[in-house]
Amino acid sequence: MERDDAWHLTDDLMVEHGKGDPFAAAIRATRMAMIVTDPRRDDNPIVFVNDAFLRLSGYERNEIMGTNCRFLQGADTDPSAVRQIREAVAARRDIAIDILNYRKDKTPFWNALYMSPVINEAGELLYFFASQLDITDRVDAQMRTQNEKEHFEREVGKRTRELTEALAAKTMLVHEVDHRVKNNLQMIASLLTMQTRAIVDPTARAAMKTMLTRIEALGTVHKRLYQSQDVQRFDVAEFARELASDLVRGSGRTGIRLRFDLEAVEVPVEKAPPIALIMNELITNALKHAFPDERPGRLSITVKPDGNYFEIGISDDGVGMPREVLGNRSFGKRLIESLARQLNASIAWQPAGTGPSPGTWIDIRLPRETAGSRETT
Protein backbone atom coordinates (compact mmCIF):
# COMPACT_ATOMS: atom_id res chain seq x y z
CA MET A 1 0.00 0.00 0.00
CA GLU A 2 1.33 3.41 -0.91
CA ARG A 3 2.14 5.72 1.94
CA ASP A 4 -0.36 8.54 2.66
CA ASP A 5 2.14 11.20 1.85
CA ALA A 6 3.62 9.49 -1.14
CA TRP A 7 2.26 12.10 -3.59
CA HIS A 8 4.08 15.02 -2.07
CA LEU A 9 7.27 13.14 -1.81
CA THR A 10 7.27 13.17 -5.58
CA ASP A 11 8.39 16.79 -5.40
CA ASP A 12 11.55 15.78 -3.73
CA LEU A 13 12.02 12.15 -4.53
CA MET A 14 10.33 11.73 -7.88
CA VAL A 15 8.99 8.41 -6.63
CA GLU A 16 7.19 6.24 -9.02
CA HIS A 17 3.78 6.21 -7.26
CA GLY A 18 3.13 9.86 -7.17
CA LYS A 19 4.44 10.50 -10.58
CA GLY A 20 1.94 8.21 -12.09
CA ASP A 21 -0.92 9.59 -10.04
CA PRO A 22 -3.00 11.70 -12.48
CA PHE A 23 -4.39 13.90 -9.65
CA ALA A 24 -0.93 14.69 -8.34
CA ALA A 25 0.17 15.46 -11.89
CA ALA A 26 -2.76 17.82 -12.35
CA ILE A 27 -1.98 19.70 -9.11
CA ARG A 28 1.63 20.02 -10.11
CA ALA A 29 0.85 21.31 -13.58
CA THR A 30 -2.15 23.58 -12.97
CA ARG A 31 -1.82 27.33 -13.48
CA MET A 32 -3.49 27.83 -10.08
CA ALA A 33 -0.86 28.32 -7.33
CA MET A 34 -1.29 25.66 -4.66
CA ILE A 35 0.45 24.54 -1.49
CA VAL A 36 -0.10 21.89 1.16
CA THR A 37 0.95 22.36 4.77
CA ASP A 38 1.23 19.79 7.55
CA PRO A 39 -0.38 20.98 10.78
CA ARG A 40 0.83 17.90 12.61
CA ARG A 41 4.38 19.11 12.32
CA ASP A 42 5.76 21.95 14.35
CA ASP A 43 4.67 25.44 12.99
CA ASN A 44 2.49 23.95 10.21
CA PRO A 45 5.22 23.94 7.51
CA ILE A 46 4.74 23.74 3.74
CA VAL A 47 5.12 20.17 2.56
CA PHE A 48 4.10 20.66 -1.04
CA VAL A 49 4.28 23.56 -3.43
CA ASN A 50 3.45 23.53 -7.12
CA ASP A 51 5.27 25.39 -9.90
CA ALA A 52 2.48 27.94 -10.27
CA PHE A 53 3.02 29.00 -6.64
CA LEU A 54 6.75 29.39 -7.26
CA ARG A 55 6.03 31.54 -10.31
CA LEU A 56 3.56 33.64 -8.34
CA SER A 57 5.75 34.15 -5.27
CA GLY A 58 9.16 34.28 -6.96
CA TYR A 59 10.70 31.83 -4.46
CA GLU A 60 12.65 28.67 -5.24
CA ARG A 61 11.16 25.43 -3.98
CA ASN A 62 14.00 24.73 -1.61
CA GLU A 63 13.67 28.19 -0.04
CA ILE A 64 10.16 27.61 1.19
CA MET A 65 9.66 23.88 1.64
CA GLY A 66 9.42 23.20 5.36
CA THR A 67 8.71 26.81 6.32
CA ASN A 68 5.51 28.45 7.55
CA CYS A 69 3.53 30.50 5.01
CA ARG A 70 3.89 33.73 6.97
CA PHE A 71 6.84 34.74 4.77
CA LEU A 72 4.12 35.93 2.36
CA GLN A 73 3.09 38.68 4.77
CA GLY A 74 4.56 42.16 4.65
CA ALA A 75 4.32 45.72 5.87
CA ASP A 76 0.80 46.49 4.60
CA THR A 77 -0.77 43.09 5.16
CA ASP A 78 -3.96 43.52 7.16
CA PRO A 79 -3.36 42.00 10.64
CA SER A 80 -7.04 41.17 10.96
CA ALA A 81 -6.88 39.07 7.77
CA VAL A 82 -3.88 37.21 9.23
CA ARG A 83 -5.82 36.65 12.46
CA GLN A 84 -8.82 35.27 10.56
CA ILE A 85 -6.56 32.75 8.79
CA ARG A 86 -4.95 31.73 12.08
CA GLU A 87 -8.37 31.23 13.63
CA ALA A 88 -9.52 29.10 10.68
CA VAL A 89 -6.42 26.89 11.08
CA ALA A 90 -7.03 26.54 14.81
CA ALA A 91 -10.71 25.74 14.23
CA ARG A 92 -9.93 23.40 11.33
CA ARG A 93 -12.34 25.13 8.98
CA ASP A 94 -11.96 26.41 5.49
CA ILE A 95 -11.58 30.07 4.70
CA ALA A 96 -11.71 32.27 1.60
CA ILE A 97 -10.11 35.68 2.04
CA ASP A 98 -8.41 38.41 0.01
CA ILE A 99 -5.09 39.31 1.60
CA LEU A 100 -2.17 41.49 0.59
CA ASN A 101 0.93 39.27 0.21
CA TYR A 102 4.51 39.93 -0.91
CA ARG A 103 6.74 38.20 -3.40
CA LYS A 104 10.38 37.40 -2.76
CA ASP A 105 11.33 40.69 -4.44
CA LYS A 106 9.08 42.58 -1.93
CA THR A 107 6.49 43.53 -4.55
CA PRO A 108 2.98 43.18 -3.18
CA PHE A 109 0.09 41.31 -4.77
CA TRP A 110 -3.51 40.75 -3.79
CA ASN A 111 -4.01 37.07 -3.04
CA ALA A 112 -7.47 35.49 -3.22
CA LEU A 113 -6.62 32.74 -0.73
CA TYR A 114 -8.74 29.67 -0.37
CA MET A 115 -7.66 27.26 2.34
CA SER A 116 -9.33 24.10 3.60
CA PRO A 117 -8.42 21.31 6.02
CA VAL A 118 -7.90 17.73 4.78
CA ILE A 119 -9.33 15.31 7.34
CA ASN A 120 -9.21 11.50 7.11
CA GLU A 121 -11.98 9.00 7.83
CA ALA A 122 -10.88 8.76 11.47
CA GLY A 123 -11.42 12.52 11.81
CA GLU A 124 -7.72 13.29 12.07
CA LEU A 125 -6.47 16.54 10.56
CA LEU A 126 -3.81 15.59 8.03
CA TYR A 127 -3.11 18.67 5.91
CA PHE A 128 -4.21 22.09 4.95
CA PHE A 129 -4.66 22.63 1.27
CA ALA A 130 -4.43 26.20 -0.03
CA SER A 131 -4.84 27.80 -3.44
CA GLN A 132 -3.72 31.32 -4.31
CA LEU A 133 -5.00 33.54 -7.08
CA ASP A 134 -3.39 36.88 -7.96
CA ILE A 135 -6.31 39.34 -8.07
CA THR A 136 -4.22 42.50 -7.90
CA ASP A 137 -5.74 43.88 -11.11
CA ARG A 138 -9.28 43.37 -9.85
CA VAL A 139 -8.59 44.88 -6.41
CA ASP A 140 -6.72 47.79 -7.96
CA ALA A 141 -9.65 48.45 -10.27
CA GLN A 142 -12.04 48.28 -7.33
CA MET A 143 -9.89 50.64 -5.32
CA ARG A 144 -9.60 53.00 -8.23
CA THR A 145 -13.38 52.97 -8.63
CA GLN A 146 -13.82 53.52 -4.89
CA ASN A 147 -11.28 56.33 -4.88
CA GLU A 148 -12.90 57.94 -7.88
CA LYS A 149 -16.31 57.62 -6.25
CA GLU A 150 -15.04 59.24 -3.06
CA HIS A 151 -13.27 61.89 -5.09
CA PHE A 152 -16.45 62.71 -7.00
CA GLU A 153 -18.52 62.69 -3.84
CA ARG A 154 -16.08 65.14 -2.29
CA GLU A 155 -16.16 67.30 -5.42
CA VAL A 156 -19.96 67.21 -5.61
CA GLY A 157 -20.18 68.10 -1.92
CA LYS A 158 -17.73 70.95 -2.39
CA ARG A 159 -19.55 72.25 -5.47
CA THR A 160 -22.92 71.99 -3.73
CA ARG A 161 -21.57 74.05 -0.82
CA GLU A 162 -20.19 76.64 -3.24
CA LEU A 163 -23.48 76.88 -5.11
CA THR A 164 -25.50 77.11 -1.89
CA GLU A 165 -23.27 79.93 -0.71
CA ALA A 166 -23.47 81.65 -4.10
CA LEU A 167 -27.24 81.37 -4.08
CA ALA A 168 -27.47 82.82 -0.57
CA ALA A 169 -25.22 85.70 -1.63
CA LYS A 170 -27.29 86.27 -4.76
CA THR A 171 -30.56 86.19 -2.82
CA MET A 172 -29.18 88.74 -0.38
CA LEU A 173 -28.05 90.93 -3.26
CA VAL A 174 -31.46 90.73 -4.94
CA HIS A 175 -33.14 91.73 -1.67
CA GLU A 176 -30.74 94.62 -1.25
CA VAL A 177 -31.30 95.85 -4.81
CA ASP A 178 -35.06 95.40 -4.44
CA HIS A 179 -34.98 97.43 -1.24
CA ARG A 180 -33.06 100.24 -2.92
CA VAL A 181 -35.32 100.27 -5.98
CA LYS A 182 -38.39 100.55 -3.79
CA ASN A 183 -36.89 103.33 -1.69
CA ASN A 184 -35.79 105.17 -4.81
CA LEU A 185 -39.25 104.90 -6.40
CA GLN A 186 -40.66 106.25 -3.14
CA MET A 187 -38.22 109.15 -3.26
CA ILE A 188 -39.17 110.00 -6.85
CA ALA A 189 -42.82 110.03 -5.76
CA SER A 190 -41.88 112.17 -2.76
CA LEU A 191 -40.13 114.72 -4.97
CA LEU A 192 -43.11 114.90 -7.35
CA THR A 193 -45.55 115.23 -4.46
CA MET A 194 -43.62 118.09 -2.90
CA GLN A 195 -42.95 119.89 -6.18
CA THR A 196 -46.64 119.65 -7.06
CA ARG A 197 -47.57 121.38 -3.80
CA ALA A 198 -45.43 124.35 -4.77
CA ILE A 199 -47.11 124.80 -8.15
CA VAL A 200 -49.96 127.30 -8.38
CA ASP A 201 -50.87 127.02 -12.06
CA PRO A 202 -53.70 124.44 -12.25
CA THR A 203 -52.64 123.02 -15.64
CA ALA A 204 -49.04 122.49 -14.55
CA ARG A 205 -50.26 121.10 -11.29
CA ALA A 206 -52.56 118.61 -13.05
CA ALA A 207 -49.67 117.51 -15.30
CA MET A 208 -47.47 116.91 -12.26
CA LYS A 209 -50.26 114.99 -10.59
CA THR A 210 -50.61 112.81 -13.70
CA MET A 211 -46.88 112.13 -13.64
CA LEU A 212 -47.15 111.15 -10.00
CA THR A 213 -49.84 108.56 -10.74
CA ARG A 214 -47.61 107.05 -13.44
CA ILE A 215 -44.68 106.77 -11.04
CA GLU A 216 -46.99 105.38 -8.39
CA ALA A 217 -48.32 102.78 -10.83
CA LEU A 218 -44.76 101.60 -11.52
CA GLY A 219 -44.08 101.63 -7.78
CA THR A 220 -47.13 99.46 -7.17
CA VAL A 221 -45.91 97.01 -9.83
CA HIS A 222 -42.56 96.73 -8.10
CA LYS A 223 -44.09 96.44 -4.67
CA ARG A 224 -46.48 93.66 -5.73
CA LEU A 225 -43.77 91.81 -7.61
CA TYR A 226 -41.52 91.46 -4.61
CA GLN A 227 -44.35 90.65 -2.26
CA SER A 228 -45.18 87.56 -4.27
CA GLN A 229 -43.25 84.31 -3.98
CA ASP A 230 -42.56 84.11 -7.70
CA VAL A 231 -40.68 87.18 -8.88
CA GLN A 232 -40.97 85.96 -12.49
CA ARG A 233 -44.77 86.22 -12.71
CA PHE A 234 -47.17 89.08 -12.22
CA ASP A 235 -50.88 88.83 -11.45
CA VAL A 236 -52.68 91.42 -13.59
CA ALA A 237 -56.04 90.98 -11.85
CA GLU A 238 -54.90 91.76 -8.31
CA PHE A 239 -52.80 94.63 -9.60
CA ALA A 240 -55.87 96.06 -11.38
CA ARG A 241 -57.82 96.01 -8.11
CA GLU A 242 -55.11 97.90 -6.22
CA LEU A 243 -54.41 100.38 -9.02
CA ALA A 244 -58.07 101.27 -9.62
CA SER A 245 -58.73 101.62 -5.87
CA ASP A 246 -55.71 103.90 -5.51
CA LEU A 247 -56.63 106.04 -8.53
CA VAL A 248 -60.23 106.54 -7.45
CA ARG A 249 -59.07 107.41 -3.93
CA GLY A 250 -56.32 109.66 -5.27
CA SER A 251 -58.77 111.52 -7.53
CA GLY A 252 -60.56 112.75 -4.45
CA ARG A 253 -63.86 111.71 -6.01
CA THR A 254 -66.35 110.20 -3.59
CA GLY A 255 -69.33 109.37 -5.80
CA ILE A 256 -67.58 106.81 -7.99
CA ARG A 257 -68.16 103.15 -7.30
CA LEU A 258 -65.74 100.53 -8.56
CA ARG A 259 -66.97 97.24 -9.88
CA PHE A 260 -64.45 94.45 -10.41
CA ASP A 261 -64.84 91.36 -12.52
CA LEU A 262 -61.43 89.75 -12.10
CA GLU A 263 -59.99 86.36 -12.92
CA ALA A 264 -56.35 85.61 -12.17
CA VAL A 265 -54.09 86.24 -15.17
CA GLU A 266 -50.36 85.86 -14.76
CA VAL A 267 -47.93 87.45 -17.21
CA PRO A 268 -44.12 87.44 -17.40
CA VAL A 269 -42.64 90.13 -15.21
CA GLU A 270 -41.29 92.22 -18.12
CA LYS A 271 -44.86 92.84 -19.31
CA ALA A 272 -45.99 94.22 -15.97
CA PRO A 273 -44.77 97.85 -16.33
CA PRO A 274 -46.30 98.55 -19.77
CA ILE A 275 -49.57 96.87 -18.77
CA ALA A 276 -49.61 98.91 -15.56
CA LEU A 277 -49.00 102.17 -17.41
CA ILE A 278 -51.72 101.48 -20.01
CA MET A 279 -54.25 100.68 -17.30
CA ASN A 280 -53.17 103.76 -15.36
CA GLU A 281 -53.76 106.01 -18.40
CA LEU A 282 -57.15 104.51 -19.21
CA ILE A 283 -58.51 104.60 -15.68
CA THR A 284 -57.15 108.12 -15.15
CA ASN A 285 -58.83 109.20 -18.41
CA ALA A 286 -62.14 107.73 -17.34
CA LEU A 287 -61.96 109.47 -13.98
CA LYS A 288 -61.06 112.74 -15.66
CA HIS A 289 -63.68 112.76 -18.43
CA ALA A 290 -66.55 110.36 -17.74
CA PHE A 291 -68.00 111.96 -14.66
CA PRO A 292 -67.93 115.77 -15.05
CA ASP A 293 -69.25 118.14 -12.41
CA GLU A 294 -68.93 115.64 -9.55
CA ARG A 295 -71.43 113.44 -11.31
CA PRO A 296 -71.57 110.03 -9.53
CA GLY A 297 -71.09 106.84 -11.48
CA ARG A 298 -69.71 103.39 -11.82
CA LEU A 299 -66.34 102.33 -13.18
CA SER A 300 -66.00 98.65 -14.13
CA ILE A 301 -62.69 96.85 -14.43
CA THR A 302 -62.56 93.42 -16.04
CA VAL A 303 -59.57 91.09 -16.32
CA LYS A 304 -60.16 87.68 -17.81
CA PRO A 305 -58.14 85.04 -19.66
CA ASP A 306 -59.15 84.00 -23.17
CA GLY A 307 -57.03 81.12 -24.42
CA ASN A 308 -53.58 82.38 -25.34
CA TYR A 309 -54.84 85.93 -24.86
CA PHE A 310 -56.34 87.88 -22.04
CA GLU A 311 -58.57 90.88 -21.90
CA ILE A 312 -58.60 93.99 -19.81
CA GLY A 313 -61.87 95.87 -19.98
CA ILE A 314 -62.45 99.33 -18.58
CA SER A 315 -65.91 100.81 -18.88
CA ASP A 316 -67.90 103.55 -17.24
CA ASP A 317 -71.51 104.60 -17.13
CA GLY A 318 -70.64 108.27 -17.46
CA VAL A 319 -70.98 110.73 -20.30
CA GLY A 320 -68.26 109.07 -22.29
CA MET A 321 -65.03 110.47 -23.57
CA PRO A 322 -65.39 113.50 -25.79
CA ARG A 323 -64.42 112.95 -29.45
CA GLU A 324 -61.42 115.19 -29.14
CA VAL A 325 -60.00 112.99 -26.35
CA LEU A 326 -60.51 109.80 -28.35
CA GLY A 327 -59.21 111.29 -31.55
CA ASN A 328 -56.45 113.65 -30.64
CA ARG A 329 -52.80 113.00 -30.25
CA SER A 330 -52.53 113.75 -26.56
CA PHE A 331 -49.44 112.47 -24.79
CA GLY A 332 -51.56 110.01 -22.79
CA LYS A 333 -53.05 108.53 -25.95
CA ARG A 334 -49.66 108.23 -27.65
CA LEU A 335 -48.30 106.60 -24.53
CA ILE A 336 -51.09 104.01 -24.63
CA GLU A 337 -50.54 103.30 -28.34
CA SER A 338 -46.78 102.90 -28.00
CA LEU A 339 -47.07 100.59 -25.02
CA ALA A 340 -49.77 98.57 -26.80
CA ARG A 341 -47.42 98.08 -29.76
CA GLN A 342 -44.71 96.92 -27.38
CA LEU A 343 -47.12 94.36 -25.92
CA ASN A 344 -48.61 93.31 -29.30
CA ALA A 345 -51.91 94.34 -27.81
CA SER A 346 -54.98 95.52 -29.68
CA ILE A 347 -57.21 98.18 -28.20
CA ALA A 348 -60.89 98.62 -29.05
CA TRP A 349 -62.35 102.03 -28.14
CA GLN A 350 -66.09 102.40 -27.99
CA PRO A 351 -67.37 105.92 -27.55
CA ALA A 352 -70.30 106.47 -25.22
CA GLY A 353 -73.60 105.00 -26.35
CA THR A 354 -72.17 102.60 -28.95
CA GLY A 355 -70.78 99.85 -26.73
CA PRO A 356 -72.34 97.36 -24.32
CA SER A 357 -72.34 99.93 -21.52
CA PRO A 358 -73.74 103.46 -21.72
CA GLY A 359 -70.42 105.23 -21.23
CA THR A 360 -67.06 104.69 -22.80
CA TRP A 361 -65.96 101.13 -23.18
CA ILE A 362 -62.36 100.10 -23.80
CA ASP A 363 -61.21 96.59 -24.40
CA ILE A 364 -57.54 95.60 -24.54
CA ARG A 365 -56.61 92.21 -25.88
CA LEU A 366 -53.10 90.98 -25.14
CA PRO A 367 -51.14 87.79 -25.82
CA ARG A 368 -50.30 86.09 -22.53
CA GLU A 369 -46.74 85.23 -23.55
CA THR A 370 -44.34 86.74 -26.04
CA ALA A 371 -42.50 84.58 -28.55
CA GLY A 372 -39.54 82.87 -26.98
CA SER A 373 -40.84 83.30 -23.45
CA ARG A 374 -42.15 80.57 -21.24
CA GLU A 375 -45.04 78.44 -22.39
CA THR A 376 -48.36 79.10 -20.75
CA THR A 377 -48.90 76.55 -18.03
Partner: protein, 149 residues
Protein backbone atom coordinates in the same frame (compact mmCIF):
# COMPACT_ATOMS: atom_id res chain seq x y z
CA UNK B 1 -63.60 115.73 11.88
CA UNK B 2 -62.50 114.63 15.31
CA UNK B 3 -59.46 115.93 17.09
CA UNK B 4 -56.38 115.55 14.86
CA UNK B 5 -54.26 112.46 15.41
CA UNK B 6 -50.81 113.03 16.85
CA UNK B 7 -48.24 111.16 14.78
CA UNK B 8 -44.57 110.38 15.23
CA UNK B 9 -42.61 109.36 12.14
CA UNK B 10 -39.43 107.28 12.38
CA UNK B 11 -37.83 107.52 8.92
CA UNK B 12 -34.22 108.19 8.00
CA UNK B 13 -34.83 109.13 4.36
CA UNK B 14 -35.39 112.90 4.41
CA UNK B 15 -37.50 113.04 1.22
CA UNK B 16 -39.83 110.26 2.28
CA UNK B 17 -40.13 111.86 5.71
CA UNK B 18 -41.08 115.19 4.10
CA UNK B 19 -43.68 113.55 1.88
CA UNK B 20 -45.25 111.76 4.83
CA UNK B 21 -45.34 114.99 6.84
CA UNK B 22 -47.06 116.82 3.96
CA UNK B 23 -49.58 114.03 3.40
CA UNK B 24 -50.46 113.77 7.10
CA UNK B 25 -50.86 117.51 7.39
CA UNK B 26 -53.03 117.47 4.25
CA UNK B 27 -55.39 115.13 6.11
CA UNK B 28 -55.43 117.52 9.04
CA UNK B 29 -53.29 115.49 11.41
CA UNK B 30 -50.33 116.66 13.46
CA UNK B 31 -46.81 115.33 13.10
CA UNK B 32 -45.59 115.84 16.68
CA UNK B 33 -42.07 114.51 16.15
CA UNK B 34 -39.78 112.89 13.62
CA UNK B 35 -36.78 110.66 14.26
CA UNK B 36 -34.07 109.09 12.13
CA UNK B 37 -32.86 106.58 14.73
CA UNK B 38 -34.63 104.04 16.91
CA UNK B 39 -33.27 105.65 20.09
CA UNK B 40 -34.57 109.10 19.18
CA UNK B 41 -37.94 107.66 18.19
CA UNK B 42 -38.34 105.88 21.55
CA UNK B 43 -37.27 108.96 23.51
CA UNK B 44 -39.55 111.30 21.53
CA UNK B 45 -42.48 108.91 21.78
CA UNK B 46 -42.15 108.94 25.59
CA UNK B 47 -42.04 112.75 25.55
CA UNK B 48 -44.83 113.46 23.08
CA UNK B 49 -47.20 110.50 23.68
CA UNK B 50 -48.37 110.21 20.03
CA UNK B 51 -51.48 108.28 18.91
CA UNK B 52 -49.69 106.73 15.94
CA UNK B 53 -46.04 105.91 15.21
CA UNK B 54 -44.98 105.18 11.63
CA UNK B 55 -41.87 103.01 11.75
CA UNK B 56 -39.34 102.43 8.97
CA UNK B 57 -37.43 99.19 9.46
CA UNK B 58 -33.91 100.29 8.55
CA UNK B 59 -33.00 103.46 10.37
CA UNK B 60 -29.91 105.59 10.67
CA UNK B 61 -26.75 104.22 12.23
CA UNK B 62 -27.87 100.65 11.65
CA UNK B 63 -30.67 100.98 14.19
CA UNK B 64 -33.87 99.03 13.61
CA UNK B 65 -37.51 99.95 13.69
CA UNK B 66 -38.12 96.60 15.35
CA UNK B 67 -36.57 98.00 18.55
CA UNK B 68 -39.03 100.90 18.50
CA UNK B 69 -41.99 98.55 18.18
CA UNK B 70 -40.71 96.06 20.76
CA UNK B 71 -40.11 98.85 23.26
CA UNK B 72 -43.25 100.93 22.76
CA UNK B 73 -45.78 98.13 22.36
CA UNK B 74 -45.72 97.44 26.10
CA UNK B 75 -45.48 101.03 27.29
CA UNK B 76 -48.65 102.63 25.96
CA UNK B 77 -51.64 101.99 23.74
CA UNK B 78 -49.98 103.75 20.82
CA UNK B 79 -50.79 102.29 17.37
CA UNK B 80 -47.54 101.23 15.70
CA UNK B 81 -47.44 100.87 11.91
CA UNK B 82 -44.42 99.75 9.91
CA UNK B 83 -43.75 101.68 6.69
CA UNK B 84 -41.07 99.68 4.96
CA UNK B 85 -39.66 98.31 1.72
CA UNK B 86 -39.18 95.03 3.64
CA UNK B 87 -42.91 94.44 4.09
CA UNK B 88 -42.64 90.82 3.01
CA UNK B 89 -41.00 89.82 6.29
CA UNK B 90 -44.29 90.54 8.08
CA UNK B 91 -46.83 87.84 7.42
CA UNK B 92 -47.92 86.41 10.78
CA UNK B 93 -45.68 88.00 13.38
CA UNK B 94 -45.82 91.78 13.43
CA UNK B 95 -43.87 92.07 16.69
CA UNK B 96 -46.79 93.93 18.26
CA UNK B 97 -47.34 96.45 15.45
CA UNK B 98 -50.89 96.98 14.16
CA UNK B 99 -49.93 96.64 10.51
CA UNK B 100 -47.54 97.40 7.70
CA UNK B 101 -47.60 99.75 4.72
CA UNK B 102 -45.33 98.51 1.95
CA UNK B 103 -43.05 100.95 0.18
CA UNK B 104 -43.39 102.35 -2.37
CA UNK B 105 -46.76 103.57 -1.13
CA UNK B 106 -49.11 105.84 -3.05
CA UNK B 107 -50.59 109.05 -1.71
CA UNK B 108 -53.98 107.38 -1.74
CA UNK B 109 -52.77 104.60 0.56
CA UNK B 110 -51.53 107.08 3.15
CA UNK B 111 -54.77 109.12 2.95
CA UNK B 112 -56.92 105.98 3.25
CA UNK B 113 -54.76 104.65 6.06
CA UNK B 114 -55.14 107.85 8.04
CA UNK B 115 -58.93 107.76 7.63
CA UNK B 116 -58.90 104.16 8.82
CA UNK B 117 -56.53 104.71 11.74
CA UNK B 118 -58.49 107.76 12.83
CA UNK B 119 -61.53 105.53 13.22
CA UNK B 120 -59.39 102.90 14.99
CA UNK B 121 -58.14 105.43 17.54
CA UNK B 122 -61.07 107.82 17.98
CA UNK B 123 -64.08 105.64 17.31
CA UNK B 124 -63.23 101.93 17.26
CA UNK B 125 -64.02 99.62 15.67
CA UNK B 126 -63.82 101.30 12.27
CA UNK B 127 -66.90 101.00 10.10
CA UNK B 128 -64.84 100.28 6.99
CA UNK B 129 -62.36 97.76 5.63
CA UNK B 130 -58.65 98.39 5.94
CA UNK B 131 -57.29 100.00 2.74
CA UNK B 132 -55.53 97.68 0.27
CA UNK B 133 -52.12 99.21 0.91
CA UNK B 134 -52.31 98.60 4.67
CA UNK B 135 -51.81 95.02 5.79
CA UNK B 136 -53.20 94.49 9.28
CA UNK B 137 -51.49 92.25 11.83
CA UNK B 138 -53.64 89.22 12.71
CA UNK B 139 -53.52 90.23 16.39
CA UNK B 140 -54.71 93.76 15.69
CA UNK B 141 -57.46 92.52 13.39
CA UNK B 142 -58.61 90.17 16.17
CA UNK B 143 -58.49 93.08 18.62
CA UNK B 144 -60.78 95.17 16.37
CA UNK B 145 -63.10 92.20 15.91
CA UNK B 146 -63.36 91.78 19.68
CA UNK B 147 -64.56 95.38 19.92
CA UNK B 148 -67.19 94.65 17.30
CA UNK B 149 -68.60 91.68 19.19
Amino acid sequence: MTEPLRVLIAEDEALILMQLEFLLEDCGHAVVATAATAGDAIRLARETRPDIVFVDLQLRGGSSGLDIVRTLRDESDVVLVFVTANARRFTDDFEGAAGVIAKPFTEAVILDTMTYLEACVRNPPPGMDAPLGLTLAPDYRAHLESLRA
